[in-house]
Symmetry: C2
């Protein structure tokens, strides 16, 4: 058979521990602050929302955190996920670059999100929790928690950003197939939702609003905890199985990446593939460029301010230091709903602020063009979010061709586009617009950032 | 880690040859007849539709037919597909049965169909063909040929059964993402389509009609060949990679199936998992029960007549001996669109007629109930077609519990349900009806079967 294109690991190679970047940071992460006192938060402050085991992971500085055996048992249904060499794409681009992608769409929910949904459901169930509330953008997180909830006997309620709820009805159906309840956000079921709807009855929603609703519902319903699909340290931690496996698979390919690429909304799939490589570099290991790719219509890393802000719109969350467009910023309704978040994971923001990673932003039509090109040679139709990473990988490969240099490019293909086909239809029929935000709204949202002296 | 649930083979174990059941039949298959002369068809009669290499496979009695290396190279993107032990389902059913499923939803198109789409595109391209016409029911075949066409630089036109075209718009979008053209059938683009529309403007279509349109378009357009996604010997042949791999994986599991199950529409995924086992039995090997499962609303094997009939509605195809409901029979618009065909593969019909396999039929609500039960424990949401196999596997496992016997049950999970979520929504909201056909229409369709003396 010709040169290898697929690099598989057997079940025994499912990582036994997650990798915690906090252990290797030469500059510590700014503390999370109480929204009232502006003092650093203690574990007790988070106890109404999360079980103690996840709070401990949130603040741990231990480098390796053991993956519980019941979680590894569920992981093995789709993990280790395959790593592919995109030889047909390389050929189509006539590039000397070696392009690799880690394929996370093989999970039952079709994205990387079950990597953290499963341990979150496991730890909650271990703590006796039988009900979880959460939010979702495009629905990849919501369906992943629905899947994990079904396995652990946990009732899941998902507040889904209204524009995605309309664009992606099959994602909602998927959540319901797994037994979860899905509510369009903003909704009349919470005070936060009602306030938004009173101001604008047709509000498209945002992740910030949906988070407010899920947090409010959690606090209002005894026995319920809250689960977040990105942003927090423990969520990023769980995603590091992606990069840990990729490192081993690149060895099988007898190669090492010169460039590692991931798309960024809240930051979890990016952190998943990038942090194990970044940590190795910070410990003195191999140099590697790391690129975070975000949508031009919601450019927190490239246009946002690095400041303390709320994680949600109704200001129910603690204050975290991150790249933010302001918690009142409502991103336009582009199709990569998983990237429509006003902020960025504090850990991703921190490493960007330190200059350890690069960031860039692309408009959605360019990303869909890259996705179609990828689909027609590699066979996989990527999620709109993943198309951002595909686009950056293609751009870097083209640059290799132009410079006559062969570099090794590794990107995370974080999910499939089966539930996003309307977006492809719009793109192919020329109806997809490069949505943008109003500069005025952005300026207003940034001006409304909370004033925090301790930062 | 606990007992194994996943049985993987590496790339080197992709089969090197397809298995041809024709080599092991103690009673030969009745010949295909020319529709005009009722004389056995020669290879030349098929030349306008298929390249010589596929015609040779259609009539070969060689037991092993080599898989070309370029086909194996594409297969390795998703093959060998995984075989799972459904331990969580076993636990939920409290059955002593050992349940295994071969998971074909890992292909880029999400079903087993690329197993034959890729070699068909390969052989056509080898013969210099740049355009293919085909039909599709639920869209799994059409999207698979679109995928294969993209890889080999072949333009693909797909006639999609109108009811599915409406029910599954994302399948159409998937075909278009891969560059194919998708037309709702019956369509005004062919004489066959226009005749049907003249009689009934809102005709829901059927596979028989769509085949007529694709064949007509092929014959009318020089340089175009025709591709079929099921029914024919060479199509079933290509699907045997499923069963060949499963045999090796069951050895890894240190088990052998007592029962092998597949759903049947045209018969290709069923043949794919069953024929290698049936052939082994016919050669004196291990006894195994083999069960074909069809929809109660289109029950060709359980209610049809074993007789010579046309493969299409407009009578453009040769006459084949098969279990048929009559070529003028229009199945009601249930959701398992891949199973809405009036006939059955001649090879599957033959082995059923010989009593070598069993057949049963289920109404769609029972199948969706099984699919939901499966999804909530195993995590995978099956295609509506695949739910028929899931239902039979669950029934057999329950029977094991009732009889206090442990049997090994292997079924083919032929595809995922991502493009069929509206059907799940209908089912979960109680809106799904157990559609049935009119006995009068069936009687009329059977009465209209061609009279063939040589049978």
């Amino acid at each position: 058979m010709a040169d290898r294109v697929k690099f598989l690991l057997d079940d025994s190679r499912i990582p036994r521990a997650w990798y915690n970047l906090l252990a290797d940071l030469p500059v510590p992460l700014p503390p999370v602050l109480h929204p009232g006192t502006h003092q650093p938060l203690g574990p007790d402050d988070l106890a109404p929302l999360f079980p103690a085991s996840l709070i401990a992971q949130e603040v741990s500085t231990q480098r390796e955190i053991e993956i519980p055996e019941p979680v590894r048992e569920i992981y093995r249904q789709w993990r280790p996920s395959p790593l592919f060499r995109a030889r047909r794409l390389e050929q189509a681009l006539q590039t000397p670059a070696r392009i690799y992608y880690k394929w996370e769409g093989v999970s039952p929910a079709g994205s990387h999100k079950p990597n953290t949904a499963v341990p979150q459901a496991f730890y909650n169930r271990e703590a006796g929790i039988r009900r979880l509330a959460t939010e979702t953008g495009a629905g990849q997180w919501g369906s992943s928690l629905a899947f994990a909830g079904a396995l652990f006997g946990i009732d899941v309620t998902v507040y889904m950003v209204r524009v995605s709820y309309g664009q992606k009805p099959y994602r909602r159906a998927l959540m319901e197939a797994w037994g979860a309840k899905c509510i369009a956000s903003p909704s009349p079921t919470t005070a936060a939702g009602r306030a938004i709807l009173a101001a604008r009855a047709d509000h498209p929603g945002s992740l910030g609003i949906a988070i407010s609703e899920a947090v409010e519902a959690t606090l209002a319903t005894p026995g319920t905890k809250y689960a977040l699909g990105s942003v927090l340290n423990h969520v990023l931690l769980h995603q590091t199985v992606i990069g840990i496996e990729a490192m081993e698979q690149m060895l099988l390919a007898d190669d090492e990446p010169d460039i590692v690429i991931g798309c960024t909304g809240g930051g979890s799939n990016f952190a998943g593939i990038a942090f194990p490589y970044l940590g190795r570099r910070l410990r003195g290991g191999r140099a590697v460029r790391i690129i975070a790719v975000e949508p031009a219509a919601c450019p927190s890393l490239t246009r946002g301010r690095y400041a303390y802000d709320f994680g949600d719109t109704a200001h129910l969350t603690p204050l975290v230091k991150m790249h933010t467009l302001g918690s009142t910023f409502t991103p336009p309704g582009f199709h990569a709903g998983g990237l429509r978040y006003h902020g960025m994971a504090p850990l991703v923001s921190h490493v960007a602020q330190q200059g350890w990673i690069e960031a860039r932003a692309y408009p959605q039509n360019d990303c869909f063009a890259a996705g179609i090109q990828f689909a027609r040679v590699e066979g996989i139709v990527p999620a709109p979010e993943a198309n951002h990473a595909v686009k950056a990988a293609i751009d870097e490969a083209v640059r290799c061709r132009e410079e006559g240099v062969s570099r090794s490019i590794l990107f995370n293909l974080c999910g499939h586009g089966h539930f996003d086909m309307q977006a492809y239809t719009d793109y192919l029929s020329g109806k997809l617009q490069d949505l943008t935000y109003s500069e005025e709204e952005l300026a207003m949202a940034l001006a409304a950032l909370p004033s925090v002296s301790s930062s």
